[in-house]
């Protein structure tokens, strides 16, 4: 029977120093990528359009990365740079995509919101709030149909949890026991509207209980908790027992997109979350496990150089030629577009 279990920092699993180091490295890579993308947008103005940053939410992607197999499919919404990097899209391909360059992971056709990588089973990158909740169930259905034991991780925000799609997809995912893990990244705000202002039901995990879906709240500032919850859900799905819903509580340090001064929340609230910053917490853990501060600083410098290189690469890359307008609309090579 579905029930709530509050996962805390005191996880049952013991993680190795190598795992903490992997988490630290990935979280710092995502953090640096996002901070630098912000700078390029605001200062150099070389990134245009929407840019939804995930700074503060990195522990979710780190925990997903370590708890999953490469053949597991991931699909998410438009706040997705961190998810994509954790799945394996390179900083160069990701940054070039933000620049709209031909060397981006989707040739400059998707931009910030629409990263895809079929070889990594990274299914996007979707801009219609909640649309991917059903798509994720469909990817899981395809895997189940073809007898694979991979699982689909389907992410969405607290805003998307209020879409009707959630209920339709949850109902069918449970009825058909689809191997999908639903992850609500609850960062407290649907754009500028707080969770409290969008529903009478403020504990989002409870929305799964109406379908008897195993549903849990997870501390999203903590990769250990995220890893443990996802590993358990993945095993459940691989055993043919169907979906799990994880409400992962997190916080985005930046605004919704680039034009958002975040006036709807307090500085105290931001401070409280930054005091439990996942990179800082994991760094302290690594030091307690005997890592040298100088080694971590060197790793930071290495990642800083990697991200600087990605910006340089993006900057120097070509824009897509105008002829690309007519490619990738149809698989049919000779599709007769209306040209007049």
């Amino acid at each position: 029977m579905a029930k709530k279990t509050k996962t805390t920092a005191n996880t049952a699993t013991t993680f190795s120093k190598e795992t903490y180091l992997q988490w630290f490295e990935m979280m710092y890579r995502i953090r640096r990528f996002e901070e630098q993308a912000f700078m390029v947008y605001q200062v150099q103005r070389k990134i245009r359009g929407f840019l939804h940053l995930c700074i503060g939410q990195e522990a979710i992607y780190a925990g997903m990365m370590s708890a999953c197999r490469p053949d597991d499919a991931w699909i998410t919404a438009y706040r997705q740079h961190g998810t994509a990097l954790a799945k394996g899209i390179s900083p160069r391909a990701a940054m070039a995509e933000l620049f709209g360059k031909y060397t981006g992971n989707v040739k400059g056709k998707g931009g910030s919101m629409h990263y895809f990588d079929a070889s990594l089973r990274y299914y996007g990158g979707h801009g219609i709030v909640g649309g991917q909740i059903g798509l994720g169930a469909g990817i899981a259905l395809a895997d189940q149909y073809q007898g694979k034991d991979s699982v689909t991780l389907c992410l969405f925000g607290d805003g998307a949890a209020r879409q009707g799609m959630l209920h339709e997809a949850y109902n069918m995912a449970m009825t058909w026991k689809l191997p999908v893990i639903y992850i609500c990244e609850n960062n407290k705000y649907a754009m500028g509207t707080s969770v409290e202002r969008t529903s009478n039901v403020q504990d989002i995990y409870k929305l799964g209980l109406g379908y008897e879906m195993p549903s849990y709240q997870v501390d999203g500032m903590n990769p250990e908790a995220v890893h443990e919850a996802i590993a358990k859900a993945a095993q459940h799905a691989r055993e043919g027992k169907g979906p799990t819903f994880l409400e992962i509580n997190t916080y985005r340090y930046k605004g919704h997109s680039m034009s958002d001064p975040s006036k709807y929340r307090t500085k105290d609230e931001e401070k409280a979350y930054k005091e439990q910053d996942p990179i800082m917490v994991v760094e302290r853990k690594l030091l307690s496990l005997g890592m040298e501060q100088t080694a971590l600083d060197a790793l930071r410098e290495q990642i800083n150089a990697e991200i600087a290189d990605s910006i340089d690469f993006a900057d120097k890359s070509p824009l897509p030629p105008a002829t690309e307008l007519y490619t990738d609309n149809y698989t049919q090579a000779d599709y007769p577009f209306i040209m007049d």
């Binding site: 996007g124 649309g131 059903g134 469909g138 395809a142 073809q146 577009f337």
Partner: protein, 326 residues
């Protein structure tokens, strides 16, 4: 060899043959399995293919369409049956924002081979919410293909092609034509998308149409023949891509055109046909193009109002007389 079968049987044969051919083809929708289809199109398919491949869904068009689209991006070839395209409106987000765009958003990495099918158009006294056509809505969207037909031969050949197509295809039928009979070969055949068909040869005027309005045009052509007017009837069959070359060729022969389209007139298929004909056959026209559409209103219930709303042979004959200056 051929034999007469009904439209619903032609559609069923297309789906069943493709499901036998490719294990990744499946059908899902409301009442498709145990109930044997709301209009019996999928009758017997559950028995042959089992519940894994003939899937009854809850009444949740948005959700089951999304699951179909997601499955299509991950290696399956789903057929999504809508009990009527009117209900597909609930799923337009998935068709328009997702299925149509995933290939472009992923820069060609992930395609979406899926067929969305079901009846469209007014079907008697069904009221405002069950009487709409959707060809022009869907055909407006790059990334989608649109087929609309009620001819059993065309329906079978086109649906088989649609199922094999690697792009998303919207396939539109008509619930009042599922019992229509037509000659259908026993041997396998395919009909390419984007190719119109001349259903009746003529010399004086071209009637361009699709779906059940082709029947209206053929009836009108019979009456016109008695008046000494020879009408050519072009069945578009595919709406996107649209085969305007067959239309242009006919207009260059007849010099007069009436477009008969059950859809509302505003920015619809008839408007697109008119644009292309004035563009490519301007000097061949002996009269302004005329069109016969459903009225620019919702479709009410009462029979007199439905009759007033619908295109019919009398309205087509009147339009033909106008372009013939008779």
């Amino acid at each position: 060899m051929s034999r007469k079968i009904r439209l619903r049987e032609a559609l069923r044969e297309a789906m069943s043959e493709e499901m036998r051919r490719d294990p990744n083809v499946l059908i899902m929708g409301e009442e498709v399995a145990l109930y044997n289809g709301a209009y019996k199109v999928s009758q017997g398919m559950l028995e042959e293919f089992g519940a894994k491949r003939v899937i009854d869904t809850p009444i949740a068009e948005l959700g089951f369409t999304a699951i179909g689209v997601g499955a299509a991006t991950a290696g399956l070839r789903p057929i999504i049956e809508f009990m009527t395209w009117n209900f597909a409106v609930l799923a337009f987000d998935q068709i328009v924002n997702h299925a149509a765009k995933i290939y472009s958003m992923s820069a060609g990495q992930i395609n979406c081979p899926i067929v969305f099918r079901g009846p469209t158009g007014a079907a008697g006294q069904l009221g405002q919410q069950h009487s709409q056509t959707f060809e022009s809505w869907m055909a407006n969207v790059p990334g989608l293909k649109v087929v609309s037909t009620v001819n059993p031969y065309d329906a079978k050949g086109l649906l088989k092609t649609a199922i094999r197509d690697n792009d998303p295809v919207c396939f539109m039928e008509s619930e009042v034509c599922y019992s229509d009979e037509g000659e259908v070969p026993t041997d396998e055949y395919l009909i390419p998308l984007g190719v119109a068909d001349v259903k009746r040869q003529g010399t004086d005027v071209t009637l361009v149409s699709f779906n059940k309005m082709v029947k209206v045009c053929l009836s009108a052509a019979d009456e016109l023949a008695k008046m000494g007017i020879s009408a050519e009837v072009v069945d578009l069959r595919s709406i996107r891509p649209l085969d305007h070359e067959t239309v242009i060729k006919s207009v260059k022969k007849t010099n007069r055109l009436v477009v008969v389209d059950e859809s509302w007139p505003f920015a619809g298929v008839s408007a697109e046909v008119c644009y292309r004909v004035q563009k490519y056959a301007f000097d061949y026209l002996d009269a302004p193009i005329t069109r016969v559409n459903g009225a620019d209103t919702s479709v009410p219930f009462s029979s007199t109002l439905v009759d007033a709303w619908m295109p019919n042979p009398e309205k087509v004959i009147k339009a033909v007389k106008a372009v013939m200056y008779r």
